[in-house]
Symmetry: C2
Subunit: 493 residues, 2 copies
């Protein structure tokens, strides 16, 4: 079945693309690089948003909204930021169209040229720090703990649904603090929030660490990140949290009067995750039969399919299905009854399996007599007959079990796919034949990292947070120079 | 107090602008016509979104996301639509910037010119119907009931915070149906949803009706609308729902195979409300002392202020405040404890009054002894001492009462501000001296409506839904020709 899905082994990349399309999650649009997020894909994003938004608010953040457009000159104000972000972007140059005098539809009105071009935001540090200048005068105005849910545009040349698109949806937190310590603590706290979300909602184990200078956010002093491992052995950066130092405060002249009555520059962080997480979710758990979704993020956790031949049986099983739905909804389970009479049960089973609904219940006439249901688990593809009595508590437990089981499976895979390379030959051999994370000694220089990247396509995904404390010194696999500790390398999305 | 707010009587327009700024709801940005929605304003939008989203889902709709950009040529496909929307808009012409060779920062790279310009969506009918062509083959694919939460851009020349901005946030529903009847029913159902939301959440009474041809959405067959009356006697269109006929299906060639096995064009609706509603909310209920928010949409429904002199009193009153908060939160009330020790109670009282928190509780040392609280109502500015015993149920009731009272007050004002004009002199006199809605006979022609607009600035806000049934025939106040019934005129935002 499985809608003729190619297997992961045959072609992982094709498997991913086909799965996204065939599971009705997203598709390409008429606009180069921009995707349409279809209702099923968007429902997963809504689940993610809802969980993350609560976590942000529980840690004291509030939401706000800043303009889509950024004046071009803003990008030049922070020297590193402009190199990273102001290049491949959508530029608005005009504000009016007019009818073509030759009758060929509509054309850009040359008289409506903007004095200064506007950039469609690729990220909002510049416009936000330009605004914060007006909001911050004294230490009493700090900290500012603000998040924005928004669309951003980066003119990527090679795009893939969810993983890399010209336009994508994300959240970007932008906080302002009176001290360096507080800002650094905030950047680390949000890294913990992201890791918590990845592991406990997405069921994706992640490594937490800090980026090397080469991989750092343009304008940051330090970029913290969580990195996950996909089933093809490639790493995926799932979220980043930046300690920005006073870089943006200096670029936009944001000072405050401290408790000690001194004018000081404000300290900053920013942090974000995007619809890319949906790609990570799919690539971590799904299989050759289609999507596998962790219960906490699945749009529907349970689907109920009535089985019948006669109109009487239809009436009775559909009624029972809705009765069960009420029962399950009452304890907070997201349930759908699939009572379409235009499709056969076999078709429905295949569809819900393909779309990764964690639990499927089927109810036939015999079940009505015996007060039973057939219960099928998507992750293990196992089936059992079970009593309908107290089914809601059983399903609550089972959803927890599935959530945990997906995490454990992914964790096991990651642990098995993490290897230490004693030297460069071993390093290359692992990358070529096995993939996964490779722990290796590195001399700490951008030059060595760059060379290794050019020769193997692997980058330093992260330097562990306890790198310095551990002090596992050694010798760089590439240069032979001293190394302060093992870092994680991998090929990455 | 009231932060030196100008009164409504002195200058209504200034009062509105100052209130929005001083209540920390929004401000203008560095980008012409684009606003920054500050956390307090955005929290109201989140309340609105949450209520509306539930109403949309309860009526069978799902969310999705379509691209921000629309190819220019798409706008030319629907003849009326292009006139209405493809003119004042943001046009993306390039996709790259580069360092200026003369060292003057960054400039647009002339080599990165798009083959076809992209328009930042002013509304999404075109890109969505281009997508629906791929989604709809047979009657089994219908209806499609989809909504999108998004930002849109219309290059307005004269902007006002929330009421008219170049970029704004909104939702746009886009549905596809097999029959005309079903599409018309959908357009009317969503009008009812909007009216329900306006009256029961925003506490704003609205008239429901249909727009005259002059005021119709560009590309619609019929535009249904809800219209509210602001305190200065001007009307405000609070939501629209369009029956689009087969216009977009024909423009984008969207056909389906009917049950009768015939290829037919699909029928469509679209409907939307925006952050403009926040402007309507402010202009309907607020007063010379600041914001007045209906409890159902207020970010905080109750604020608790501890009153103390000594550290011991502080500890005791703050503890009691948090105890009360727990009690109120448990029954679903949104509560904040204002325990800032940097501000005095008087300052806090003024601030929460200005920001429209519906109920304020104050707890002093005497209250601790007597188990009482001081309860102040924002809408009536009344205060009372009341027992803390069972306070949560009392406040639940009071919040309902305030919600109802705000609606009743607005309804009374609207009824008093609605007048019938027997002839054109009366019509002009009412508009000039009293404002409000004016019911008058109209001959049904766009020409007459246009003349009246030019001479009085009043437009037809709506033709009542029961206009034809009522058959209150008469004589047009302007042309003297026959009229089929009374329509609502007003000057409008």
């Amino acid at each position: 079945m499985a809608k003729n899905l190619i297997t992961r082994k045959e072609d992982y990349s094709q498997w991913y693309n086909d799965l996204i399309i065939k599971a009705d999650m997203a598709e390409t649009s008429a606009v180069r690089g921009c995707m349409v997020i279809k209702p099923y894909g968007y429902a997963i994003w809504e689940s993610m948003q809802s969980a993350l938004d609560k976590m942000f608010k529980d840690t004291g953040h509030v939401n706000a909204y800043f303009p889509l457009f950024i004046p071009k000159s803003f990008f030049s104000k922070e020297a590193n930021h402009v190199e990273g972000f102001a290049k491949e972007c959508a530029v608005v140059t005009h504000y009016r169209l007019k009818n073509d005098e030759g009758g060929k539809g509509i054309v850009v009105d040359p008289e409506a040229k903007l004095e200064e071009e506007l950039i469609v935001r690729p990220t909002s540090e510049t416009i936000i720090w330009d605004t914060y200048r007006k909001w911050i005068q004294s230490y009493r105005d700090l900290p500012l703990l603000i998040n924005q849910w928004a669309n951003v545009v980066r003119w990527e040349m090679r795009t893939r649904l969810f993983l890399r698109t010209a336009e994508f949806l994300w959240q970007e937190g932008h906080t302002a603090h009176a001290t360096q310590e507080e800002a650094e603590a905030e950047a680390k706290r949000m890294l913990e929030v992201y890791a918590d979300f990845a592991e406990n909602f997405m069921a994706i184990p992640v490594h937490k660490g800090v980026k090397s200078a080469n991989e750092r956010f343009a304008g940051a002093v330090n970029t913290y990140c969580i990195e996950a491992l996909m089933q093809d052995g490639k790493a995926l950066q799932a979220g980043t949290s930046h300690f920005l130092g006073q870089n943006f405060a200096k670029a936009f002249d944001v000072k405050f009067l401290s408790k000690e009555n001194k004018q000081e520059y404000v300290w900053a962080t920013s942090w974000g995750v995007s619809t890319r997480l949906i790609g990570a979710l799919v690539m971590t758990h799904s299989d050759d039969n289609g999507l596998v979704l962790p219960p906490k993020l699945a749009p529907f956790q349970v689907v109920i399919v009535p089985i019948y031949r006669t109109p009487e049986e239809m009436q009775a099983t559909v009624a029972k299905a809705h009765e069960l739905k009420t029962l399950l909804s009452r304890v907070g389970i997201r349930v759908k009854v699939d009572d379409r009479d235009t499709q056969k049960p076999g078709f429905k089973f295949a569809e819900h399996e393909f779309k990764g609904v964690p639990i499927r219940l089927a109810i036939g006439p015999r079940d009505l007599e015996n007060n039973t249901v057939e219960l099928a688990r998507r992750d293990t593809l196992t089936k059992e007959n079970t009593s309908a009595e107290g089914i809601e508590m059983k399903i609550l437990d089972l959803l927890d079990e599935i959530q945990k089981s997906l995490f454990d499976k992914a964790l096991k895979f990651r642990e098995e796919s993490t290897r230490v390379a004693a030297n460069y030959d071993e390093f290359k051999e692992i990358l070529e034949n096995k993939g996964g994370f490779v722990l290796a000694h590195w001399d700490g220089t951008p030059e060595t990292e760059q060379k290794i990247k050019e020769e193997t396509k692997a980058t330093i995904r992260l330097i562990p947070l306890d790198y310095e404390e551990k002090a596992e010194t050694g010798t760089c696999i590439y240069s032979g120079k001293p190394s302060k500790g093992l870092v994680y390398f991998a090929k990455a999305y």
